[in-house]
């Protein structure tokens, strides 16, 4: 997979070099062989689908994770960061999508947190600190009052503060992880101007983004990752958006996820003109009996938020949700459950399960009122119900009493599925059905979803894995920045059309 890439400018060592880096979390392999070489004086784009391993790679560079294998060099020297402090000291700065500043402290205090300049009496030299902050902003060509509190700053300004902090630490490598996701057009332009001036000062920048217009406008080089592996590195002038998209997706997917042909029945779930200010708008779709509807799009496109609103965990401003013609009340998960909607949430460990609680209690959590006889519930009744679902879903656990948090990711997901199938839903909304679970369990989950649809259940499947969406879904909806940008039938949906709708604003019609 890894081809030598030192074709361009072989002068001197690279600012940042990772070669054949591997990283696994238990059974889940996040990185197989990631390679990234970033030259000084350049802005380097790192692109790939969700789950391609970009974030893991960044976290290794930042010192948050330690690699299992491979080489990691900084300006030609081997490095091995065991903490973020070591990474910072070596001149690496990571600017996250949403910076974490101390809201009550001033901008200046945030920049110099933990290393305030002192005068000869050992007291903090506020004047020096302030003028230094002022100097940093002038250098970056931005106007931010150094005395104002960080609270209330726009995300764009918060990122600038983080960049200022990085420069004051003399960071040589700046990694920006989807910095433009929450920025307006003007703010993006300002950020890019700052990025270019940093490059021209001799720093190296890594820019992670899903927006190809921006990548092509800003970057000099581009590296594509897929499935935890390095795919290619090119000068931006030598490639095109189409080429990059093809490399990001690049695999034959249709055979992997066999969805059985089912007869599609009546409309079960109908969502009409759902709006939630700043989160999603004009969401309309329906799910019929026996159908799997895929909801694709990038992370942050608002897919999970729609699912949460439909199920009632969150509210919405306007619109309606009906199931078999009957309205589902707003912001009332209990009512949605009772009418036959189930939601397997995105974050299994935070939203799906009570990790410290037993397999039995978790499996029966959603049906606890139904299990009660004359208002009373016993461990015996719960175990009996849990046993049924655990055995049918083939959950591997030492006992029903085992805390669910000690199970593997795949078995945890089966417990969540069992918990919701036990409610006998008409509509199953499943958010990232196979995230973080091993390949074997993955195909079990897919077979299961297919069987459920075969029995007449309507399934809305949110997934960031394109192959999963394309293989499983009868229809694909694509969301981008809070709107549905494409309705694609199984026959016309392919990787390019979905990726295009997920990254471009223009509306696609089937």
């Amino acid at each position: 997979m890894t081809t030598p890439i030192d074709t361009a400018e072989p002068t001197g060592p690279a600012a940042l070099e990772l070669r054949d880096v591997g990283k696994a979390f238990g059974a889940v392999v996040a990185l197989k062989s990631a390679t990234l070489t970033v030259r000084m004086n350049s802005i380097h784009a790192l692109v790939g689908e969700n789950g391609a391993g970009k974030s893991t790679l960044v976290k290794i560079v930042a010192g948050l994770y330690q690699r299992d294998s491979g080489e990691f060099r900084l300006r030609g020297e081997d490095v091995d960061f065991r903490s973020t402090a070591e990474s910072k000291a070596a001149g690496i700065a990571v600017i996250y999508q949403e910076p974490t500043l101390f809201p009550d402290l001033s901008v200046t205090e945030n920049i110099f947190m933990g290393r305030q300049p002192t005068n000869r009496f050992g007291r903090i030299d506020r004047k020096a600190m302030r003028s230094e902050a002022q100097g940093l902003f002038e250098r970056l060509g931005v106007r931010i009052d150094p005395d104002r509190p960080a609270e209330g700053l726009s995300i764009a300004d918060q990122q600038i503060i983080e960049i200022a902090k990085a420069i004051s630490l003399d960071a040589r490598v700046l990694i920006m992880d989807e910095p433009t996701a929450a920025l307006s057009g003007v703010e993006v332009d300002r950020l890019f101007a700052v990025a270019r001036s940093l490059r021209d000062e001799g720093r190296a920048l890594v820019f992670i983004s899903h927006r190809f217009e921006e990548v092509f406008a800003l970057c000099d080089m581009i590296t594509v990752m897929r499935d935890g592996s390095y795919i290619s590195t090119d000068a931006i002038s030598d490639t095109s958006v189409d080429e990059i998209v093809r490399r990001m997706v690049g695999r034959d997917v249709t055979d992997l996820f066999p969805k059985q042909e089912t007869t599609v029945g009546d409309t079960l779930l109908e969502v009409r003109d759902l709006n939630s200010a700043g989160i999603f708008s004009d969401i309309s779709f329906e799910v019929k009996a026996g159908e799997i509807v895929g909801l694709a799009g990038l992370v942050g496109a608002g897919r999970s938020e729609v699912a949460r609103a439909v199920f009632g965990v969150d509210g919405y401003d306007s619109g309606s949700v009906t199931l078999k013609g009957k309205a589902i009340p707003k912001k009332n998960p209990t009512a949605a459950m009772a009418r036959g909607i189930a939601l397997v949430p995105e974050d299994r460990r935070k939203q799906g399960l009570v990790l410290d609680s037993s397999v039995s209690h978790n499996t029966t959590m959603a049906i606890r009122t139904k299990l009660a006889k004359m208002g009373l519930i016993t461990n015996g009744a719960e175990n009996q119900a849990a046993k049924v679902w655990a055995s049918r879903l083939e959950v591997k656990t030492a006992s029903l009493d085992t805390p669910v948090g000690t199970l593997s990711g795949g078995n945890q997901q089966k417990v969540v599925l069992g918990k919701w199938l036990a409610t006998h839903p008409d509509i199953l909304i499943i958010d990232e059905p196979t995230r973080g679970i091993d390949v074997g369990t993955k195909s079990e989950v897919h077979r299961l979803l297919s069987q459920l649809a075969g029995e007449g259940m309507g399934i809305l499947m949110i997934s960031s894995e394109l192959p999963e969406v394309l293989g499983m879904a009868d229809r694909v909806l694509v969301m981008r920045e809070g709107r549905i940008t494409a309705h694609l039938d199984r026959s016309v949906a392919d990787a390019e059309s979905v990726m295009f709708a997920a990254t471009h604003a223009e509306e696609l019609q089937p």
Binding site: P333, R348, A366, L376, G436, V445
Partner: protein, 367 residues
């Protein structure tokens, strides 16, 4: 879910692994990973109960007069308010919240009882009014915590001062000491010839109600789930806000009831009645094995915890130990119990993961 037109997903029809034999052989699951005796005996609650028994045995054999029935009577009369309030407090703490205003509600309820009977109300009506006031006090706590979204620690520190202020303000430094003898006698009376005071009857009834509520109802399952992970609980259809609101109201009512008992037992309604009682209640609940972080605990442990503190205090008092020393001993016991809990948790975690892998490393797999 009574809708008969639902799609019928029967577990029998599923076969995720696709293996032919999977349909035929139903996997068998053990209900529990550990044998029954271990699950019953090797718990924190049992450790407290055992400690309680040890202290009782030692006290009977070494402290003169401890084994007299009158000692039991006075012991129970004294701890009754703590026993009562500990019941709802356990539920509140298991959801991960806390209520520091309980002693002030005791005081307010006492003062209301006093002023209203002084104004000519029959005692029964005044008591009912005090209970309603307690419910309202709890409802205000619940409103500020669940609707406004403030932390319970801050809210109930505020209402601790507010309710106490109202109580002292209503009655000033005076006390109401004129009560129908029937009721003051009843408050101190014993059940027949037994050494147990009459207040144990409502206590046992309430204890049964709270034990069932916590351990044997869907509502109780929700309480534990909220304490461990309120987000997952709300995704499972647990109404987190409503559950907490109900618990604060219940705590208010039971505290008001304890206030009525307190007043009649000592024959005195004062604004400063039961000052500091909230800390004794919380100390006993934590000693009884309830986690201050929520999600863990059992009622039998709490009751043993209250009795342990009561028995210790009573035995030491009989042995002429001064009350400041008693406080020191209770405090040390509480700290030890909390330390031992974290120590045991640390120990079992060490045993489970010999590699000592950090939690973060596991959850990172989902990132």
């Amino acid at each position: 879910m009574s809708d008969s037109t639902k799609t019928t997903v029967t577990p029998e029809s599923l076969n995720p692994s696709g293996r032919a034999d999977a349909q035929a052989s139903v996997r068998t699951y053990r209900d529990y990973g550990t044998p029954l005796w271990r699950r019953i005996l090797l718990t924190r609650e049992m450790a407290i109960i055992a400690l309680l028994l040890v202290v009782i045995v030692v006290a009977i054999s070494t402290v003169r007069g401890f084994d007299r029935p009158i000692t039991i009577t006075y012991l129970l009369l004294d701890v009754a308010p703590i026993l009562l309030i500990a019941l709802p407090m356990t539920l509140v703490i298991i959801t991960g919240e806390i209520d520091l205003s309980v002693a002030s509600i005791v005081g307010l309820s006492s003062v209301l009882l006093g002023t209203l009977t002084q104004a000519g109300w029959p005692l029964e009506a005044a008591a009912l009014f005090a209970l309603v006031a307690g419910a309202l006090g709890g409802a205000l706590n619940g409103f500020l915590i669940t609707v406004v979204g403030l932390p319970s620690l801050a809210v109930t520190i505020g209402t601790l001062a507010l309710y106490r202020g109202l109580a002292v303000g209503l009655l000033g430094t005076t006390a109401v000491t004129d009560w129908p003898e029937f009721w003051t006698d009843l408050a101190k009376d014993k059940i027949g010839d037994s050494p147990f005071p009459v207040i144990m009857i409502p206590f046992v009834l309430l204890a049964i109600v709270f034990i069932v509520l916590l351990h044997f109802t869907p509502f109780g399952r929700g309480i534990f789930a909220i304490g461990l992970n309120d987000e997952a609980a709300s995704f499972s259809g647990v109404n987190v806000a409503r559950t907490k609101f109900i618990l604060f109201v219940l705590t208010g009512v039971v505290s008001a009831f304890a206030g009525i008992y307190f007043t009649l037992r000592f024959g005195s309604a004062r604004g400063d009645n039961a000052t500091g009682l909230e800390l004794q209640v919380i100390a006993a609940v934590l000693l009884g094995g309830v986690s201050i972080f929520g999600g863990r605990g059992a009622m039998h442990g709490v009751i043993a915890g209250v009795l342990l503190i009561g028995v210790l205090a009573s035995a030491l008092r009989l042995a002429n130990v001064t009350s400041d020393v008693i406080n020191i001993i209770t405090g040390v016991l509480l700290v030890l119990s909390v330390v031992s809990a974290s120590f045991l948790a640390w120990l079992s975690k060490k045993r489970q993961r010999p590699g000592g892998r950090k939690r973060g490393a596991v959850s990172a797999a989902q990132a």
